[in-house]
């Protein structure tokens, strides 16, 4: 009843081509943005900003990057964390070595550097596919981390390879409270997510999906494989690179190469698998699930243990948390193999018929 597009007539091409063709969607997105930009800063506590919302947005952006590559262009990658590392270290170096470079510009430069490195490691994708490609991108994971440890110039000769990011200056104003950092991250993520949403329905996005579904058929209908695949690697790495820069500058404040481990790449991969492969929305849902659920369990389990008088040590709680988390992942994969985004889609379809399903 509420969510029905009947009666919404498109009278111009612009109206037909807009990002959210259904009016209710547009309103929903606007309300969501209003809540995120205005409501959340008023309500959330410092803990929520620094420990939950900022990492959630950053990982959602990284998952979005991987989703473009894996979900839309069909190229499996295990190097997302490495591309984040490139973005983080590049943004740091641009900020350090170019006097007066605006912060946003160094984030973009970080993203572009990551894109360049991404293209380099995307080259094998022209010859190999599937799991073999995953192994090739695994090389990126190890090589980049090794490279950042090996060459001290990259970390400004820090004796330990750890970089400590510069102050966040935006238009002469220093961003030092969690709220300001949150708004910066949110702004960047919103712009990039909308850009991605637009990109995947454009010619580029359609070409990616054609390559994903069957690359021989795609090349037969005139899609050039090399530029398409490499562009997917570049765009994906750009997103991961910007996410890495945000991770370093707005979240941790200091990062080491070993922090961008294979484990983190897997985490990002799990986010898109849980959230939904080939869905912008899914990247956000997956990031929320993978990041927030452990924290929720961590807080809820000791509370429950106390309530029922169970003698849980903190180590036991961590073990149980890992167990429950693993079980939930399996549950979701069995119940809904297409991810949380698919659940959302089903909900929308049901809503269209509600309250008179037949």
């Amino acid at each position: 009843m509420l969510y029905r597009e009947a009666g919404q007539f498109k009278t111009s091409y612009a109206a037909d081509q807009q990002l959210f063709p259904i009016r209710q969607d547009r309103i929903g997105v606007l309300v969501l943005l209003a809540v995120a930009f205005l409501g959340v800063p008023l309500l959330a506590s410092e803990y929520w900003f620094s420990a939950i919302l900022i990492p959630f947005l950053i990982f959602a952006l990284a998952a979005l990057g991987l989703n473009i590559l894996t979900g839309y262009a069909g190229q499996l990658s295990l190097g997302s964390a490495a591309f984040m590392a490139v973005g983080a270290y590049a943004a740091y170096n641009f900020q350090l070595r170019i006097e007066g470079l605006p912060l946003i510009a160094s984030f973009i430069c970080g993203g572009l550097t990551a894109a360049a490195v991404g293209i380099l490691f995307g080259l094998p994708s022209l010859r190999i596919k599937g799991f073999y490609l995953a192994v090739a991108t695994l090389a990126a994971q190890f090589f980049i981390v090794w490279c950042l440890t090996k060459f001290p110039w990259l970390s400004n000769n820090s004796s330990s390879g750890v970089i400590s990011t510069q102050k966040l200056m935006l238009f002469g104003h220093e961003l030092n409270t969690p709220v300001e950092k949150y708004l910066l991250v949110l702004g960047i993520v919103v712009v990039m997510a909308l850009a991605a949403k637009n990109m995947v329905r454009s010619t580029t996005g359609r070409a990616w999906m054609a390559v994903r579904d069957m690359d021989v058929a795609a090349s037969v209908i005139g899609i050039r494989l090399m530029p398409t695949k490499l562009l997917a690697f570049a765009v994906s790495s750009f997103y991961c690179g910007v996410a890495g820069a945000l991770y370093a500058f707005c979240y941790l404040g200091s990062v080491e190469p070993d922090g961008f481990s294979l484990e983190m790449s897997f985490k990002i991969l799990f986010m898109i698998i849980i959230g939904g492969v080939g869905s912008i929305m899914g990247s956000f849902l997956g990031a929320a699930f993978i990041l927030l659920l452990p924290i929720f369990l961590d807080v809820a389990l000791p509370f429950l243990a106390e309530l029922f008088g169970l003698p849980f040590a903190s180590a036991t709680v961590s073990h149980i948390q890992i167990l429950v988390f693993g079980a939930l992942i399996m549950f979701f994969l069995i119940v809904e193999p297409h991810g949380l985004a698919r659940l959302w889609q089903i909900a929308k379809e049901k809503l269209r018929l509600w309250p008179f399903p037949h």
Binding site: E46, G253, S254, V255, V299, S314, A315, S318
Partner: protein, 440 residues
């Protein structure tokens, strides 16, 4: 479900109502424990934080707290993961607003991530034997304390130990520095290089890639180089592998000297026979002969409040190290109370002042029963390290035996390195260093 829960909820509410006035009555000193007991280094964390909590319990049971202030704490599991560490910090931060003991993370990565945040939130961050070593310069890092000693000072002390063994002259000798190729392993290189040029010995650096369970090539190189000594900076599984590999190529273990993360029981016992004679630096001795350790076992474990599930860990190097960290923390609380009011809970700023003005003498350590658990420590604004001394211990096949007194690294050589690095940090971050001569 709700009906089943009701009595439990009611009981919980009731007990809260009864307990809270009591809890309010006594002052409490809160310790945010950002710790780890699971994950790859979980067993190290269990011993360390077990010792830490046992000592806090011991203070509560034995002396009814510090001047009547009870020690309380809350643990948060990091699994040695930086992002989780930051989340834990943010979670415990608000609870630590009123009173906060020093934060010990036992992780270089997490402490790096917390250095700025802790300074902003005015919470003292202790990094005993790890973390940001240039925080020795307190003028730039008011809230970070690399207490007792640092990697660089340790390397320097090991060189001094070798030098003393060789009649005070190292000229023409060859020392191999075999290290874990990570932030941790690379920290000490700068000190080894400085020592090499000062003492005119040849330094050969050989990295081992993480995790270090394959060292054939490295030890082949060592055999070719025929070094007089091997200074060893290993971590985790790399340690036992190195000892076994040394045995295989016939390199004498009593010419190998390791850092303090290579010198616990967990490192040598798996190597079996190969570890005999191997030496490692430490700032705390192992064993239950230390009076306070024996007393903890009696008082805390006697009362059934021990934190360790496996009481066999009591008296191990890492357990004792956890106790030494807690001794320092509690002494800082005591010192803070002397200035800001006895019998009161101390906040982060007050504890920070105390950590900067610690003066723990041998006599004080003896009163605490903690002789040999720590060297003497005297901190100040421009020296957040406070000691820089280590002991060398040797594995005799069954236990660690100290083979030296306290050895101090070459402060004149090493501390300027810290100051230079801290200065660079201050410049990058736009921090104006404090004037240490004006600090009281």
């Amino acid at each position: 479900m709700i009906r089943k829960l009701k009595p439990a909820l009611a009981a919980a509410a009731l007990s809260l109502a009864i307990l809270s006035p009591l809890a309010m009555a006594a002052e409490e000193q809160f310790f945010p424990l950002i710790d780890y007991r699971v994950g790859p280094y979980g067993s190290n964390g269990q011993a360390f934080y077990g010792g830490f909590i046992d000592y806090l319990n011991y203070v509560n049971l034995k002396e009814k707290g510090v001047n009547g202030v009870q020690m309380t704490w809350e643990e948060c599991e990091t699994e040695y993961n930086n992002a989780k560490g930051v989340e834990c910090y943010e979670r415990l931060k608000s609870k630590a607003a009123k009173s906060a003991g020093p934060i010990h993370t036992m992780s270089t990565g997490i402490s790096y991530a917390l250095v700025d945040k802790a300074a902003q939130d005015k919470l003292p961050l202790a990094m005993m034997g790890y973390g940001r070593t240039d925080a020795v310069d307190g003028s730039v890092f008011p809230y970070a304390f690399p207490l007792v000693t640092t990697y660089q000072m340790q390397a320097s002390a090991i060189v001094k130990f070798i030098k003393d063994k060789n009649g005070g002259n190292l000229a023409g000798k060859k020392i191999v520095y075999l290290y874990h190729d990570s932030a941790y392993g690379k920290e000490a290189i700068i000190a080894m290089e400085a020592e090499a040029s000062l003492n005119k010995f040849t330094l050969v650096q050989i990295p081992v890639a993480h995790p270090g369970n394959e060292q054939g090539a490295q030890w082949l190189k060592i055999r070719q180089e025929k070094p007089d000594y091997v200074v060893f900076w290993g971590w985790g599984v790399m340690n036992q592998t190195a000892l076994k590999a040394a045995q295989k190529v016939g390199y004498p273990r009593d010419k190998m000297i390791g850092s303090w993360w290579t010198g616990s029981e967990e490192d040598v016992v798996p190597a079996g026979d190969a570890a005999k004679g191997y030496m490692a630096a430490t700032w705390n001795v192992a064993g239950k002969q230390v009076p306070v350790i024996a007393d903890i076992q009696k008082v805390v474990y006697g009362a059934g409040k021990g934190n360790l599930q496996d009481a066999g860990k009591i008296g191990t190097v890492l357990y004792n190290r956890g106790v030494s960290a807690a001794v320092l923390s509690v002494e800082a609380i005591r010192k803070a109370q002397e200035k800001y009011g006895k019998g009161k809970a101390m906040n982060g700023e007050q504890v920070r002042w105390a950590l900067e003005n610690l003066n723990i003498t041998d006599a004080r350590l003896k009163t605490l029963g903690a002789t040999d658990l720590l060297p003497e420590i005297k901190t100040s604004c421009d020296n957040h390290e406070g000691s820089g001394k280590v002991k060398i211990q040797q594995w005799d096949g069954a236990k660690w035996v100290p083979v030296s007194g306290w050895i101090e690294g070459n402060k004149g050589l090493i501390h300027p390195l810290f100051q230079a690095s801290a200065k660079q940090y201050a410049k990058e971050k736009g921090i104006t260093p404090r004037d240490c001569s004006k600090e009281k």
